[in-house]
Symmetry: C2
Subunit: 433 residues, 2 copies
């Protein structure tokens, strides 16, 4: 959760969650059985699908959602809620159930991504934290998945930490890896999530040295010839020549970080081949997004380093998911004003597929006692899985590697037009039954 990995997450919460709790404890409605649902009313403009990210991080954060003595003292000092509520919070730990889409699953407008079941008090206080984690990680995973599709099998390295809040950067590295990136530059993501870390060098390293060749020799002396040399500090043609002079033809890779990357990659490939460095790879970086990656598909590029665009969700930095009360004591509830209307009742979903495996539609249905699931065809599958039961995390939940594989398979099932990068409708319709 945090760099410390041990802090309480309880104050990462909106003021009003606790004042609503105080009022509901006072009039007794806090004990009513509730279902809150997380969903997105729509995808970001033009997007065809979303990717669920952050579920495992969320389950960690819920486990750490306890009000410590220091938290309680702070709330008392700030006069946020009354003493009865503070006593209740001091004993709080979530004791309800959570069901949801696993990480790496696709979602569409209205998909019931998460259902939190418990009494009102138990469930309302989690709202802010649930949305912070899922909105951020899903935004990054959704953008990253499009980039991985655009890269068409080429290696992707996430290197955007410097363009994101320092802790968001760690979560972004995880979300990008979930979506199929191969590595991250972020060392904390390496520690916390076991993601491979990678790096080349910066222009500063070349500028530090008296000559470019000196810099390359120093890097090779420390890291060996399999390293990646950054060749665009001065003149790229001279840079490539210097790189091979310093490293020999066994040089691992060169990186080009500026200019017309397609033209430069072609020239560098020809030059490397002419110098006998046929196995030296070409890494490109510099303001790449999914469109720039796709535009380089015909060029001799071996790997992409992606920064700003992936960690900021490539134009959609939040997934805009909401956490809405849909059921109270077994009866559906819904906002009825003209705008932002919601659909009441606890819901689950299944995805229907053609016999070929191509996805057809997202079927969202009311579930609960006396409400059987719609018939599940041979090629269909249920989308929610149990995540928490009576406050305890369910055993055997998918690992990060499982989630990568889930997404890979899910994307294979998307109709071809749903994988286009251009703006359009969701890849499949959501049907409410």
């Amino acid at each position: 959760m945090t760099a410390a990995g041990a802090a309480s997450t309880a104050l990462l919460t909106d003021h009003y969650e606790l004042t609503m709790l105080a009022a509901a404890l006072r009039d007794g409605t806090a004990r009513r059985n509730c279902v809150f649902e997380v969903f997105a009313r729509r995808l970001p403009p033009g997007r065809r699908y979303g990717v669920v990210g952050g579920v495992a991080r969320l389950l960690d954060a819920i486990e750490m959602f306890r009000f410590t003595e220091a938290d309680i003292e702070q709330l008392a000092r700030a006069h946020v809620v009354d003493d009865d509520t503070l006593s209740w919070l001091a004993d709080y730990r979530f004791s309800g159930d959570v069901d949801g889409y696993p990480e790496g699953e696709l979602y569409f407008p209205g998909s019931p991504i998460l259902a939190v079941t418990g009494n009102f008090a138990d469930a309302v206080v989690l709202e802010t934290l649930v949305l912070s984690v899922l909105n951020h990680d899903s935004a990054v995973a959704s953008a990253a998945a499009r980039m991985v599709t655009a890269a068409n099998g080429r290696r992707m390295i996430e290197m955007g930490s410097r363009r994101a809040h320092e802790e968001a950067a760690v979560a972004a590295a995880r979300a990008a890896y979930l979506a199929g990136f191969s590595a991250t530059s972020n060392l904390e993501a390496g520690r916390r999530y076991g993601i491979p870390t990678a790096g080349t060098s910066a222009h500063s390293f070349t500028l530090l040295h008296d000559t470019e060749v000196d810099a390359f020799r120093a890097q090779i002396a420390a890291l060996g010839p399999q390293t990646t040399l950054l060749v665009d500090t001065y003149d790229i043609t001279a840079g490539v020549r210097n790189a091979i002079e310093a490293a020999g033809t066994e040089l691992g890779a060169i990186r080009i970080d500026s200019g017309d990357l397609g033209v430069l990659a072609r020239q560098a490939r020809e030059q490397l081949d002419a110098l006998g460095a046929r196995n030296t790879k070409i890494v490109v970086s510099g303001d790449l997004d999914e469109h720039a990656i796709a535009a380089l598909r015909a060029e001799p590029v071996d790997a992409y380093g992606v920064g700003t665009a992936v960690v900021t969700g490539s134009g959609a930095p939040t997934a805009n998911m909401v956490y809405k009360l849909v059921e109270v004591d077994g009866r559906p509830v819904e906002k009825r004003s003209e705008h932002k209307a919601s659909r009441g009742g606890r819901k689950a979903a299944l995805r229907r597929h053609k016999p070929t495996g191509t996805a057809l539609e997202e079927v969202v249905y009311r579930c609960g006692p006396g409400r059987p699931r719609p018939e599940l065809g041979d090629h269909d599958r249920e989308l929610q899985i149990p995540l928490v039961r009576a406050g305890q995390r369910v055993d055997g939940l998918p690992t990060l590697e499982d989630s990568r594989e889930r997404l890979r398979k899910a994307l294979v099932s998307v109709p071809w037009e749903g994988l286009k990068l251009s703006s359009g409708e969701p890849a499949i319709p959501t049907v409410f039954v």
Copy 2:
């Protein structure tokens, strides 16, 4: 830094910072005296100015940038660098100098926002952390300042935590407050930075109850009549009537979160006045950005609740600042490739103003031994201040309240066309001398 407030920040760092360090330690260049400069090549598209945010957070993070035993073990396990480098890192603490623009200062393309002076080893390892903090907080502060200008003195409440990574949300609340917001919904920001917290209630609280009036009565019983009642769960006209019925005419405020906010605010104002609730304020929220806020200027709105747009930088989620080596052992260095060229040499800046106080230009000049500062007119001021000397934070740095005041005054000095929300050129030119 983190919810725990005590963790190391050392692994919130890109892999390559440490491999460059390893290579530079090996060939001796790590001891060369260096100056790294933070600047933005350009403002986000159409923006007229940027606001420096995050400096105090950065100084905290630099103090916590120590490699703990656990950090060193992780780096060894992951084979990031050799043992000599690990030994060096175990003893690391930054011992150089930092000068920079104080928080709340405006910046423009090329402004030398931060200068980090030290040997290469000391300074290079801070790159990722410096940029993460400044890029995030400045992006939010810059967007928030435009919103505060658009609100023209009306109260602004930041409530976007749910649309940002859970730790980024805390920093975003701070940056919005720096820019002139009055309060945040985020309880951790209240604790960590002393920012006033505020909240109303969610639609779920109304839906939890059997009737809207029940919900309103429960909220008033717990929080008193000065609370804010959310009136748009069902029918707004009925909601306003129910609110006054439950609270009386001394009700603090109503909140409208959906629909045509201008029309609804006018209708609600008339209705409240007719019911005798002339002092009951109107808070509006729901996908507000600076343009929507400005469009409501003529309407009877007392306060704005702003979420997604402010925490995501309103279209510019990162400030795109870079950390570039500009000086080695007293000589200027610069990238010379065609693209992304940089200007070498340690630089400082002053801002020239007309006698009326209106800003004229940002003058960026080379500084250091034998390089006198350009003459400072009566209405001009130097922009960098000393932040760290020999690794120690300078005493008496501006508080968060000081920084709010600094920004308020700086915005008064901006030429009127620089405060327009529409796209355009930077409010003043940057002149390199």
